[in-house]
Subunit: 176 residues, 2 copies
């Protein structure tokens, strides 16, 4: 699928969330009915014939794309969240950030052995969050059919952390 | 639509996020393909013939239902977020919490005068967040066609803050 219209709609916001960072703002894509539908279609198209059992996504922007993909495919949805946000018993995984670390959690009953899972997120940057998400799913015996991103910042080399999985990105920016 | 199956799947978690609170956990609804589709269908059904221009929702659980509703209706999506999370110029609204206050933000270009907006959230509790969300949209000239919740805690009287708008809830618990 040609993603030029999506790429054209993404707004570049300098110095957000901090000085020196160029932020790719996807809200103009979301706000436009056609572009939003196209962004979901491009994440779904490799999974229409052989559907995953469930789509997993990480809060908060990942929820937007992941839930819409699950709705379009007609499958279930698993929320993966920052530690402390999920109410039932969780599994946790930590990963390194530029300064310090972060921990994400998934309910222990979200994935059963042999379940096929499509992970969806808005942005592949350093890949740490997606890799931790994949580890949570694999610890419960789930099989990751793909990790699909709307945007990839190729300069940050996030794919190097995800070499064990099929990775798809709709729009690639060469920088970081 | 009969929502008994949805209600049966909702898991009651005592003492989350703090002692004395009974939390209604919707993740078993999300994880089940049929129940997730049903939860989205019941939020959409009054809007299929006359569609809103856009669906607005508040992070993080609101994004799950709001984005899936927007996908199913084939319309755009507006994320409303805690202050500081949106990259472009925002409008802000504050509202009271039990202790202290909170502020939510929306991009200034998310709503244009006369736009019809469906607000979607998972839970109607005290109604403060939804009322603030509605004020943000009305400040930009948007018209709120409905505020739709999956769950309403009737004992907290959130509807009293939303009397100016059509309010729908799929599942009502009498307590708080």
């Amino acid at each position: 699928m040609n993603c030029d219209a999506l790429k054209k709609a993404i707004r570049e916001v300098p110095d957000f969330p901090k000085p020196g960072i160029l932020f790719y703002d996807i809200t103009p894509v979301l706000a436009d009915a056609k572009l939003f539908q196209q962004s979901i279609a491009v994440l779904c198209e490799r999974h229409v014939k052989q559907k995953p059992k469930t789509v997993a996504a990480i809060d908060a922007r990942g929820f937007i794309f992941g839930a819409a993909v699950a709705q379009k495919l007609g499958v279930g949805f698993i929320p993966i969240r920052k530690k402390g946000k999920l109410p039932f018993t969780t599994l946790d995984e930590s990963y390194d950030l530029e300064y310090g670390s972060a921990t994400i959690s998934m309910h222990v009953d979200a994935v059963k052995k042999g379940d096929t899972i499509l992970i969806v997120d808005d942005l592949l940057a350093t890949g740490g969050t997606a890799a931790a998400c994949a580890r949570l799913i694999e610890r419960q015996g789930g099989k990751i059919v793909e990790i699909a991103f709307l945007i990839e910042l190729a300069g940050l080399k996030g794919r190097a952390k995800l070499t064990r999985y099929p990775v798809f990105s709709a729009i690639v920016y060469e920088g970081g």
